[in-house]
Symmetry: C2
Subunit: 400 residues, 2 copies
């Protein structure tokens, strides 16, 4: 992912300003304008206590066509009760008055500390400047403005030819801790100038998310504020519909790649991460059990600290698979490989295993673990990071 | 828990020696002799890949009355396949020959690094010395000899009068990381001189474990080697049976206290722990959902790092409750207290909440979180520790 190279999406303008929500002189308020007539789809956190802006964004998207995303960092406006919902609405209303749209055409998104009142005045004060700065080229600024503990912006962009027409997809995401987007995601905003009907757009979003943001975990903690939006402006004049199968599939592949690039970008920049780990679980009886094993390994503090230490302590992987709760799981059939190196074959240490070969694999920055369950035909892949001193440091000092 | 004060249990002799299994000059081999005619019960890890000694201990306990527990640290003899089972049996057999019992009267237990062959020769070489050292007073030595990353021995002991007869219960446990004893425990050995029939003893063990070792978590990682044994020598001549209700209940209370003391002792000495945290979940619809919420909070890396930092970041607790997967969980009814301080009432920040009061609670070494779900009449309690720099350090450097 090269955050500095991106294609603009016709019909989308962006701005990022510093409105001093939590820190001084840091981009913390992002405004994204979507041209009239676009289709917009969203998925949100499954956390039972979803934040005020999530509740409002869901409601507004059902009520009207979205024209603006208003995103602030530094304050999640979560755990703030009815007052929090009022605060989020006041921000939407202020923007709606300035831009002469309905308040329900504005979708609010917040990320940052949970449980503190949203500084509405600071946000409202910043709106005229944000509107003034709206530009088709401000992608990097916007991708920077939505960050919290992330160390770098995540932008992904592609341009493809479909039936002789050029179509662009460009998106951004943020998130570095409290990352296990359970059937949803951290903040991610993806845009295309393709023309896609609402219902199809929703399907495409669900599909893309399930194989990207829903396959990553940093710490197993699902946020209260996760949201992922996909908007199609239609300005390329290229209609995507299920009827034109080859075009539709080509678009889906490109969209899926953008989502995976953003999702894996979050893991590469996870809090304190020094390793990027791919966990493949194969030959499972169901998708669910593959994911159960993959997440148990991915979220094991002992596996994660072993990766941090580059220690080929494969016993911890084996123990995590064993405790993942699968019924009648037989050790005798299990096979585990680390990169190209067989660790476990038929439930025992592979005869060709050698600690020094394992060390070479563990010293790599990108590590792939392959776990064969030998009890079915399903496969799943999950991405995760290691557990380092810096993860503890970042999260122990988060509010100081 | 005062590890230096304990009562001997008539019918039990113990020895601990240094046999250089992994480190030089460190007590790493423990032998416990149980008088003829004792009843012995055991529960073991639910990890699907349980270790060779666990498989053998289960089998031996079903075959014959146990006379010896043979426990080594430094090597878990897990993930070692058929060779590992042979190795464990060879140790049992060697001891059986020296003590003139059947091999199946010896139960083997191992804890330490997973996946390395058991150094059978070192263990067998140490056996004569261990037998020679057997003594009724060696409790502290034995409790020290079973430790791995623990920083101190855990012994718990009580003596009670039952119908004018004196009955003793004394036990030991080890475990500091890879601790979430799923329906079982890390290594724990508890002895009484009460006389208890096998079936009743098994019931008592199951009951005591479910409210002690099965209510603790350090890192959510269930070991491959967890075992908890309870032996009743009968040497006090005091028969415990369900018929004598008051005696039976008094014994159960004392036994339950010993188990809880050992279990919470593991948490107090958890890897890198600086805090001891009790999580109560009340008014749940079922035991299962209370435990689901309690463990989600207890194992959240974000909650644990906040405790380490003494940061009253209650938003992380709220987010963890919200992602714990309970259906139709309503935020509006939730109440959360930290010690005596109300954090959340009716789903919102309590009007009397003040950060400085929360800070006083968080600065304590012993912290209690109370979570009221307001959807039923079940309650559960779980104990856990915080996630510190030292946890990462200990587990990153474990094999170096």
């Amino acid at each position: 992912m090269n955050a500095r190279k991106f294609y603009e999406v016709t019909g989308i303008r962006l701005a990022a300003i510093a409105s001093n929500i939590r820190y001084a002189d840091r981009l913390d308020l992002v405004l994204i304008e979507i041209a009239r007539g676009a289709a917009v789809a969203g998925v949100y956190t499954q956390n039972a206590f979803c934040a005020a802006p999530v509740l409002l964004a869901k409601q507004h998207l059902q009520t009207a066509t979205s024209r603006y995303f208003l995103i602030n960092t530094g304050n999640a406006n979560a755990g703030t009760g009815a007052a929090g919902r009022d605060d989020a609405f006041r921000c939407c209303q202020a923007l709606a008055e300035l831009t002469e749209v309905q308040a329900c055409s504005v979708l609010p998104f917040s990320t940052g500390v949970i449980g503190e009142p949203l500084p509405v005045d600071k946000i409202v004060f910043g709106l005229p400047e944000a509107i003034d700065k709206l530009s088709a080229s401000n992608w990097l600024q916007a991708a920077t403005g939505i960050l919290t503990t992330d160390t770098r912006p995540k932008l992904a962009s592609t341009r493809l030819e479909l039936d002789g027409k050029s179509v662009t997809i460009t998106g951004m995401a943020k998130g570095s801790g409290m990352i296990k987007p359970d059937m949803a995601t951290m903040l991610a905003f993806v845009f295309t100038d393709a023309q896609i009907h609402q219902q199809l757009l929703e399907q495409k979003l669900a599909q893309a998310v399930s194989h990207s943001f829903n396959r990553i975990t940093v710490d197993g903690d699902t946020s209260t504020n996760d949201s992922c939006m996909l908007a199609a402006t239609g300005h390329s004049q290229m209609q995507i519909d299920a009827g034109n199968k080859s075009v539709n599939e080509k678009f889906d592949r490109a969209l899926g790649q953008i989502f995976q690039e953003l999702a894996t970008g979050l893991i590469r920049d996870a809090e304190g991460a020094t390793k990027f780990i791919t966990i493949n679980v194969r030959q499972g009886a169901s998708t669910e059990e593959c994911l159960q094993v993959a997440y148990t390994v991915a979220e094991s503090p002992l596996v994660k600290t072993a990766f941090f230490a580059s220690d080929p302590n494969w016993g911890r992987i084996l123990a995590a698979v064993g405790r993942s709760g699968l019924k009648d799981l037989s050790l005798d059939a299990i096979a585990i490989t680390l990169g190209d190196l067989a660790l476990i074959s038929n439930g025992e240490l592979d005869p060709n295993y050698a600690e020094e070969k394992a060390q070479i694999e563990m010293d790599k920055q990108e590590i792939t673990i392959d776990i064969k369950l030998a009890r079915g035909r399903c496969s799943e892949m999950v991405w995760t990071s290691d557990l380092s001193h810096d993860y503890v440091k970042i999260n122990a000092e988060y509010r100081t």
